[in-house]
């Protein structure tokens, strides 16, 4: 029974995972990716974030509660900008 509940929970979590591709502005060196990643992971509901300096992008996996605005606010606090990447 416990295993089934756990499995259902896991499925529910996966089902509500949302993937985002963001364009990050203002990064001037590779070390900036660390600050952006930290900022994104600080937003409640963000599960994973991978930031790339060369492409100026972040791939983010979140739960259903996270909005673009909440991530933009988080990133803005460290001096960078975020918007949906094309």
């Amino acid at each position: 029974m416990g295993r089934i509940t756990l499995g259902l929970l896991l499925l529910a979590t996966l089902a509500y995972s949302k993937e985002w591709k963001l364009h990050i502005g203002g990064m001037h060196c590779i070390a900036c990716t660390l600050a952006v990643k930290k900022a994104l992971l600080g937003v409640p509901g963000v599960k994973e974030a991978k930031v790339n300096f060369k492409n100026e992008t972040a791939f983010v996996i979140t739960d259903e509660t996270v909005t673009l605005r909440s991530m933009q606010n988080g990133v803005a606090q460290t001096g960078y900008t975020a918007k949906l990447a094309p």
Partner: protein, 360 residues
């Protein structure tokens, strides 16, 4: 376990394994120091992730640094030395696949160093060297030579025409207007504009060695003096001050110096940042006799307890990394599954660097 090992140069038995030709007329054996440096990594804790390292290596610098041996042993399947980048910076590249059960590397280096002391006497400089120095007048992403940098340089040098006197004015101005800020991460980011912006707001500039060296380089380039930062690491005690020295564990002893070029002399070493460190560590006034004497000495001098890596800035690594252009290369650069691994946090790499001075 697949284990790769290689060794370059000749590892000779005994401490003194270099030729007398390394000495020049202006140097004496008393300034000679030989060090064994051991840099170990263990990235096994990153588990089933791809790991790559680009490690800066020392190269020979006439009359200052001679690399006697470089050796590496690793359980990676791909590990090689290269200097295939815009600055010819010697690099050890090591890559572990996801499946590697362990991810370790043991890098050893033996380096002989002399004090590098410029006598400021005119000499014949090879035309090729004069020509190649011109590359270090150009701006890079982090080293602008226009805008605030150009205006500040003009204010400092005024109507001075002699390049050596202009360089000295800039060097003295950096020391007079900056202070060492211990809260800065690593060697700093090396952004001249950030330093000048701070000066405008606060009246002084706080930073560390890369910040001050980069500013000095930018101001010199803006004054038509070829200049470049030189990334490196302190590898032993200093004869001049504890502020300039290191103990055996040099894991966090990275230090950036700089040099500039005068066509009638050649490349001239200097280090404005270490004077600000002296002032902080010895709690002395920047205008004190001791600070002024050492400022005089460090205009044209590198001590033999510091090993140079490279003068690369804003360049692309080889093989190419996932994150793109690197701003400087004084620390190991690492990626785990394409993500940057913080170079200022040795624990992420589980790396230590140990340096031992050999008896002569």
């Amino acid at each position: 376990m697949h284990r790769r090992e290689f060794m370059t140069k000749t590892a000779l038995a005994g401490a003194i394994c270099f030729t007398p030709s390394f000495l020049t007329a202006t140097q004496t054996k008393t300034t000679l120091a030989v060090y064994d440096i051991n840099w170990t990594f263990d990235l096994t804790h990153h588990g089933a992730q791809e790991c790559s390292l680009w490690i800066p290596l020392p190269s020979d610098i006439p009359e200052f640094q001679s690399v006697l041996q470089i050796g590496a042993a690793s359980d990676s399947k791909k590990s090689f030395q290269t200097a295939h980048n815009n600055y010819g910076s010697a690099t050890l590249y090591t890559h572990w696949e996801k499946s590697a059960a362990t991810k370790t590397l043991n890098l050893t280096m033996r380096v002989a160093l002399h004090d590098r002391q410029c006598d400021f006497k005119r000499k014949r400089v090879c035309p090729d060297e004069v020509e190649s120095s011109q590359e270090f007048l150009a701006p890079t992403v982090h080293i602008p030579t226009d805008g605030t940098v150009a205006k500040t340089a003009q204010k400092i040098v005024g109507n001075e025409k002699d390049p050596l006197k202009k360089a000295r004015k800039i060097y003295d101005w950096i020391i007079a207007n900056s202070y060492r800020d211990e809260s800065v991460h690593g060697c700093g980011v090396g952004s001249p504009n950030a330093m000048l912006s701070q000066l405008e707001k606060e009246g002084r500039m706080g930073g560390k060695c890369l910040d001050m060296s980069a500013l000095c380089v930018a101001l010199m380039r803006a004054s038509s003096i070829p200049a470049r930062e030189v990334m490196g690491i302190r590898i032993g005690p200093s004869r001049l001050s504890a502020a300039f020295g290191a103990k055996e564990d040099i894991t966090k002893s990275q230090h950036c110096k700089m040099e500039f070029f005068i066509p009638t002399i050649g490349w001239i070493p200097c280090d404005p940042a270490d004077i600000t460190k002296l002032v902080l560590k010895e709690e002395i006034d920047p205008t004190s006799k001791r600070a002024r004497e050492l400022a005089d000495k460090f205009f044209g001098f590198w001590e033999n307890n510091w090993m140079a890596f490279n003068h690369a800035r804003d360049f692309d690594l080889y093989p190419a990394n996932a994150q793109g252009t690197l701003d400087s290369f004084g620390y190991v650069y690492g990626e785990v599954d394409g993500e940057y691994l913080d170079a200022f946090e040795p624990s992420r790499y589980r790396y230590t660097i140990i340096s031992k001075k050999l008896p002569l």
